[in-house]
């Protein structure tokens, strides 16, 4: 029984951790009332997705994907494709965070606050 659990954890346990991180971000987005916190939680979700992708790249006893003369077999290098994809995704997530921050700046200028409660109250004044 214990060995079964150990093999499951060694093989698939990391997926559970990434899912935990993803749902942690989701929970934060639902529960928090401050828009800045929501943005941070969105970033946590992005990081979870990036980790999830990087899990696929792993190979047992594989080395970094930089070609060396004495290592020739494809089995001995880890998978470069998810690393390449996630490299661009990290930088693009920076851009999306920047746009989110700009929107928050704009909201703060109009409503004087980025708390959900204050914004809903402020919206009632215009009616």
């Amino acid at each position: 029984m214990m060995t079964q659990i150990e093999t499951i954890l060694a093989g698939k346990g990391i997926y559970f951790l990434t899912l935990l991180l993803l749902t942690l971000g989701l929970y934060g987005i639902i529960v928090s009332r401050n828009y800045m916190k929501k943005l941070i939680c969105m970033n946590i979700m992005q990081v979870a997705v990036i980790f999830f992708f990087l899990c696929f790249a792993q190979k047992n006893s594989g080395t970094i994907p930089v070609a060396m003369k004495h290592i020739v077999h494809a089995v001995e290098y880890i998978n470069p494709l998810p690393h390449g994809l996630m490299l661009t995704a990290i930088v693009v997530s920076l851009g999306t965070t920047g746009v989110g921050l700009a929107l928050l700046t704009r909201i703060k200028e109009k409503y004087g606050s980025i708390e959900e409660k204050d914004i809903i109250e402020g919206e009632k004044q215009f009616r």
Partner: protein
């Protein structure tokens, strides 16, 4: 209630997904689906076909260069979007007054940080970061690194300079209009490399047809270097644009004016 209900839902989702993890491949298994097919081709042919020892760079700026071009464009568009979002103010009658928060006077007066003399340490660290960024940029094909990392490091140097010592005059000033233009230049360098390949008789971003008198593999290295310079410039400029655009307009609760 507001906090408990999502928690229950999420726990149910987690449990359900933990039960059905079977379709995901085993970690570290070299013969799993993501680690076969194209990946083996990339690993076995990257060095001989593209003359780049770093396979990640070979994949993102040679095999999948078209994809990376649009990633760079997305970065540039993010910078433009920040500038456009912050281009206008909300009208004064549609604005809700700031509730002035009275500044709390600290009993000890202004905080004085005596541990690190930032005006001495930051100018010492900055050139090293920039040197490392240039190394990462030009060595991206051979060792670990690439254009995105170099751009992020260069942007970080600017952020360090602006945020830690705001009162010092910078040697290079990049207001948001100029840095947006710089991002455009970076993207343009990328596209220009592709168009040069077309001028040499190839298809878009086919580095072997670059109109330079060189060996085919050297042409690959040159094309990848040009593309990475473009990416680095675009990423750096976008980070600076986002920083400048937001720093100009941001209004803190304890601001005096």
């Amino acid at each position: 209630m507001r906090k408990v209900l999502p928690l229950i839902l999420i726990v149910i989702c987690l449990g359900a997904s933990f039960v059905t993890l079977d379709f995901l491949p085993e970690i570290g298994d070299p013969s799993s689906k993501p680690n076969t097919h194209t990946t083996d081709y990339y690993i076995e042919h990257a060095t001989t076909e593209t003359n780049a020892a770093n396979m990640v760079t070979a994949v993102i700026v040679d095999y999948r260069a078209f994809d990376t071009m649009y990633e760079t464009t997305v970065m540039f568009i993010a910078g433009v979007a920040v500038v456009l979002i912050l281009a206008s103010h909300p009208e004064r009658k549609n604005r809700i007054r700031f509730r002035k928060v009275r500044k709390k006077e600290s009993r000890d007066g202004k905080p004085v940080y005596r541990t690190i003399n930032k005006e001495v340490v930051i100018p010492l660290i900055e050139p090293m970061i920039m040197l490392y960024a240039i190394y990462v940029l030009f060595h991206g094909e051979i060792s670990l690194g690439g254009g995105f990392q170099a751009g992020a490091l260069l942007g970080m140097t600017y952020i360090l300079d602006v945020m830690v010592i705001p009162e010092r005059d910078s040697l290079i000033r990049l207001p948001k209009d100029k840095s947006t233009a710089l991002g455009g230049i970076g993207t343009f360098i990328y596209v220009l490399t592709g168009i040069l390949c077309m001028a040499g008789g190839g298809v878009f971003l086919e580095y072997e047809k670059l109109p330079i008198p060189m060996h085919a593999l050297e042409k690959h290295s040159t094309g990848m270097l040009l593309v990475e310079v473009g990416v680095a410039i675009c990423v750096m400029a976008t980070i600076i644009t986002i920083l400048n655009g937001i720093m100009e307009r941001v209004h803190f609760d304890d601001d005096t004016d």
